[in-house]
Symmetry: C2
Subunit: 217 residues, 2 copies
């Protein structure tokens, strides 16, 4: 049912906010993000999508998508027709069930993100974001080398994810480097002090276990 894989180059829109008849997309490789725009151009990034994730789950239909999807890196996506998938869900409870699980996980991720936006300081939010992405990317494909891993985010992207300006992101990042906690350079994240980073991130118990055994299924 999955359509043939298709390559989307880095920094391209996969679909725009408001688009109609958008299929689901299975992410074979690459990093992407979903976002929502305000009329004057302000942008809030809602989620980052990594290999193995499913995009386009949110609303569709007559009103159009509530969010847009862009690639961060070159990505390979397979589209999945909505109605065919719907039929599959109807006929196979195991699939329908797994979908619920995926949606619950997405919701937990977005909730955690909302906590950062509303109640964490810039430092805490950044620590949290990097821990989340480190765990997720290691669990999906990523090869770690020492304490470094690939983290293809630019400062403006981090800013739009955390509700900050890129200038402020730059300053906090250099603070974190000076504090010898972590370093982001050349799209590589190096964790210098996992102890302190974890304390800063301050995620509720259980958050990092969201990608435990069950997520492998």
């Amino acid at each position: 049912m999955r359509q043939p894989p298709r390559l989307f180059p880095a920094a391209r829109a996969v679909y725009l906010q408001g688009a109609r008849d958008v299929p689901l997309y299975n992410i074979e490789s690459g990093w992407l993000f979903s976002y929502q725009l305000l009329a004057d151009g302000r942008r809030q990034i809602l989620q980052f999508l990594l290999p193995g994730d499913l995009a386009g789950l949110e609303m569709d239909g007559s009103a159009g998508m509530t969010h847009g999807l862009d690639t961060l890196t070159d990505s390979v996506l397979c589209s999945i027709p909505r109605e065919g998938f719907q039929r599959l869900c109807d006929s196979c409870p195991v699939v329908a069930n797994h979908m619920q699980w995926i949606r619950a996980r997405d919701m937990a991720l977005l909730s955690e993100h909302a906590v950062s936006l509303g109640r964490r300081t810039a430092r805490e939010s950044m620590a949290n974001l990097f821990m989340e992405l480190a765990v997720r990317s290691v669990r999906s494909v990523q090869l770690i080398s020492g304490t470094s891993l690939r983290m293809p985010l630019t400062q403006p992207i981090i800013a739009d994810a955390l509700g900050l300006t890129s200038i402020h992101v730059n300053r906090v990042l250099s603070d974190l480097r000076k504090s010898r906690i972590m370093e982001l350079k050349n799209k590589m994240l190096t964790i210098l002090d996992m102890e302190q980073l974890t304390r800063l991130a301050n995620s509720p118990e259980g958050f990092l276990e969201l990608w435990g055994p069950k997520a492998q299924a």
Copy 2:
């Protein structure tokens, strides 16, 4: 399958963050909110729940709930055993389907909330929140009298929903009153200038239609 209705008085916990074996709850009447706490007590409210909504959908299982649920007003809830409901979903695709729809709607609401937290000013966020709750409450049970409707939120609650302090909420609220846009008094919201309020809320097209015909189903 739904258990007998049970009354929860105002300002009570229905379940705590981290609780295990929590059932689903159908909200027969009352207003509630779900939230997440940080170790030092900072609180982020994630969603408001109104009659007809379903609570407890997010993660459960061995790790415990990722969020807590409290009542705002006296509320009547029916618990729904998780495993029984699971079986129902498995045997009845229409139900499973509607669940997906509910989860997609919750996701869209939380996304919009995240946009407020990250990219809207305090004024805009508040306009947005009140428009959302006005529309939802009118669609569920609420009786409107003129341009006023019941809105049982305190300033500290609004603050924890929008990532602000209650002091700042107070100031913005009195600004909004002085600007003759809206007024919140005695748990009643009065809309003085719908035109301006809508412009301030600045919600993407389609957001307010999330509770259109289909939501009645």
